[in-house]
Amino acid sequence: MKSVEIRNCNSRFHKNIGKYTVSLKDSCFHCGLCVEICPYCVFDRIDGFNHVSTPNSAGCLGPDCKEGPYYCTTKCPVDAIKIELDPQWKTLGDFRWTPDLIITTWQQAETGEIPRGNLEYRIGASGGGFDVFDFTIDDVTAISSEEIDNIITSDKISTSICLNRRGEGPSIEIPVPWYGAGMSFGSISLPSILARAHSAKAWKTFTSTGEGGYPDELIPYSNHVITQIATGLFGVSEETIKRTPIIEFKYAQGAKPGLGGHLLGDKNTPGVAKMRETVPWNSLFSPFPFHSVYSVEDHKKHIDWVKTINPDALISVKVSTPSDVDMVAVGSYYAGANIIHLDGGYGGTGAAPEIAKKNIAMPIEYAITKVHKFLLEEGVREEIVLLASGGIRTAFDIAKSIVLGADGAIIGTSDLIALGCVRCGNCESGRGCPRGIATTDPELEKQIDPSWGAQRIINLYASWQKQLKLLLYKLGLKDIKELRGRTDFLKHIDEK
């Protein structure tokens, strides 16, 4: 396989946010020693200037640097460098996406490398689920950096998964155990959609249209775009069903299970409305559930219908996580689905009632084990692909989902973070995302250049694959498929 091209891809902002602020006191006489010693480009002196520029604090590793040879504060001859914790740090992020996670995701999107420094890039601070699991490996085991390079660049450790295990129909294999979640045209901007599609193509994995139609600009990527059929049937046509290798039936979404879809009027611009065949500026509600599906038999009828239009497509069924999700999964299997896509309660969304996100349906961690166990008991586990989404933020979340019993994961919010999302959560109304990601405002969406965005997501995926390979190596495995259900590799984080 030709390897994916990783290129450095810097932030699009003047100022980056970091954990520390570095400032120069008045005693600084601009000798420039710090510019020479800092390898992280915190200090700079523009050619022809006497003064050292305002420090670029975001690059600073803080006290972590102390042991190394570069610690500027002690080297400075007049003790003029001050490093403090940035009070702004606390304003970023939340329990699920901590400032550490957001910043390290940005770092990975910039460099394509596993984050260095002391920021926590594996778990959040939610105090439950993935965030309290740890792998039972001795992290102290010294692996030399050359060895690490060997592991992550060689093909000896496989991270690929197959999306069809039924023994009939096309065989589709993706080199990484994840693909992109449905995010509609309307909830996010076209440049963001194109960035995701481009990175999916580069990684030979998939992205999904979401329920907002299939913009013509996506046609060049059609081998890597999943057509979603959701309850509102917005923008679904025979052409878009024929065009795709995988068809995703969305029954419910984890962030708003049982409530259908929402696109508030502000974001339903004429372009979006045309794609969805609706009236501009009207709020759009997808119903819940499919008004033609009240049983597994009805569901089978649905699948037969799309199979008639596109016999070669794989079928994915996206459901949220009620307490009887195991039954739903088995029903979907018997109706002919190739992929069961579980969307947990803490998943992302363009707009959803806060009460639904927090309270309705269970977090994905519980649902994976529940469904995996039940499919095993029913003897059909080896014929179906179980994918998890809804709160999968990092490579370690993906690995933990697989340990709990999934085959792979589906990624949404992390893609957006790579594009520069700060999770301020104001994408639902008005002009949408002020940072140009989840918006349909023609002015705001110009902030994202699709090729820049694609490279950011490509880089993030590269770092994730490296982390998975390294993890598999440390666990003594050669293939991500061997990891499934190996709960013996997990322990509680507080356990010594």
Binding site: A252, P257, G258, P353, N359, C424, G425, P434
Partner: protein, 462 residues
């Protein structure tokens, strides 16, 4: 003509609730270039109206934490910090976030809707240890064109007889239907000022529900609203039972002190019933652990309703049990004794957010009693010590109409959120939610079910 129940909302702003979560600081490096203004889509940054050469101070409460101005500033002149005023709100239970959410609901009367996923902790204690269920395949609850099918939120207060043995001996007491499974309470903090009592009672009247009022706070202007008032008095203080308003009240609550004599209770209830045959009688209880024997005594004394008081953090006054747990246990006990329908269960204390209403109902209550949340809707900041003369928002002087509309707005938002929860489950009547433990996911149970095998050899789940 048949009319659907509907709550009339209208936006009411309150200047004292304009406390943003964040504060933007403009430092000396600012060149007044105005780039922050072009990047901010929320009008936080504006030029000074008197001197357009300079930027005026950021309007912090409009800031939505998007970092656009900060990251696009060419001179690193802007910085965001947490707003201390915001952090100071409330306490560990009534968190700044909870207060802020109620303020927004009271202002807009709408369900809080935001983009991006959930941002809170995985779980918490009390109400936050419960998830509500949904159903993948149900009758349609939301239609793309016609909106939402009707979901009933009315509940009945009063006992339901298991069967009728003798029509001649039928109780005159009627059951009383309230339109929402929420009752209001006028004395949450001992803040018994008329300035806040009247708006709460008027709101209850408009909403088609009841408001609890201590008898000592009753005044004559309240007479037109007597049908919407639940008059309350402690058992050891009750007097003048033969006078108005006891004789005219629809709904009477006797608060039981920690120690009381059952014969005294029987005597008072008998007297009440003889003076006012149609009133529903409720008992206010501080101890949530009832034996079947005590319950039978209450039943024989002809109490229709039991209202369990907890403190503002949802902890019972006796026994320190959280309101969810005690209600769950009570529900199970009553079902076991086959007496559940012979009494209405209410829960009061610690109901601080919209999701607490369906959750307490799932645990077994018929309806929730809102208290402190009503004050918060009116602008209260839940200070450590509440002094009516020294109130930072001058609650006493608040325009009663503003307070009333804000309370109505909040309750409308809460009812709409209850509808969201019910529709996700495919339930069309909130009465059916009562005690439906199977339609909820309890943390401890699901954790054991899902993860026990994981930790079998490595120790127990924490």
């Amino acid at each position: 003509m048949y009319k659907r129940y509907h709550i009339e909302t209208s936006p009411v702003e309150l200047s004292t609730t304009k406390i943003g979560k964040f504060e933007i600081i403009r430092n000396d490096s600012c060149l007044n270039c105005g780039r922050c203004m072009t990047h901010c889509i929320y009008d936080v940054h504006k030029r000074d109206s008197d001197d357009p050469r300079i930027m005026s101070d950021p309007v912090n409460h409009l800031c939505k934490n998007c970092f656009s101005c900060i990251q696009n500033c060419p001179y690193q002149a802007l910085e965001m910090i947490k707003n201390k005023e915001f952090e100071k709100l409330g306490n560990t239970y009534w968190t700044p976030q909870i207060i802020h959410t109620i303020w927004n609901e009271a202002e807009e009367g709408k369900i809080p809707i935001f983009g991006a996923g959930y941002r809170g902790p995985f779980r918490g204690s009390g109400f936050d240890d419960i998830w509500t269920d949904m159903s993948e395949i149900v009758r349609p609850t939301r239609d793309g064109i016609h909106g939402r099918e009707y979901i009933a939120t009315s509940v009945d207060l009063g006992r339901k007889l298991p069967w009728i043995s003798d029509f001649a001996k039928l109780d005159l007491t009627n059951s009383y239907e309230i339109q929402i499974p929420m009752l209001l309470d006028t004395s949450p903090l001992g803040l018994n000022s008329r300035g806040i009592i009247l708006p709460i009672i008027k709101a209850a009247h408009k909403l088609g529900t009841l408001a609890f009022l201590d008898i000592e706070n009753y005044f004559d202007e309240l007479k037109p609203y007597l049908k919407s008032i639940a008059l309350r008095c402690s058992l050891d203080k009750i007097t003048h039972l033969d006078r108005a308003p006891w004789r005219e009240a629809n709904f009477i609550e006797i608060a039981l002190p920690q120690k009381y004599s059952i014969s005294e209770l029987e005597r008072v209830l008998k007297k009440l019933k003889s003076e006012n045959q149609t009133a529903l009688i409720s008992l206010g209880l501080t101890n949530p652990s009832l034996s079947a024997g005590i319950f039978k005594q209450f039943k024989e004394a002809r109490a229709d309703i039991l209202n369990f008081y907890a403190d503002n953090h949802g902890q019972s006054f006796e026994g320190n049990i959280f309101i969810c747990e005690s209600t769950r246990k009570l529900q199970l006990d009553l079902v076991k004794e086959r007496m559940r329908d012979e009494v209405t269960i209410l829960g009061k204390g610690g109901i601080a957010a919209a999701e607490h209403v369906p959750k307490i109902i799932i645990c077994g209550a018929d309806a929730a009693v809102l208290d402190l949340s009503l004050l918060v809707a009116a602008g209260c900041r839940v200070c450590k010590v509440c002094k009516i003369d020294d109130c930072p928002v001058e609650l006493e002087k608040l325009d009663p109409e503003i307070a009333e509309q804000r309370i109505i707005n909040m309750i409308c938002a809460w009812r709409d959120q209850l509808l969201e929860i019910l529709s996700a489950m495919g339930i069309r009547d909130v009465r059916r939610l009562r005690g439906e433990k199977g339609r909820a996911i309890f943390h401890e149970e699901i954790e054991r079910e899902s993860f026990e095998f994981i930790f079998k050899e490595n120790g127990p789940v924490k």
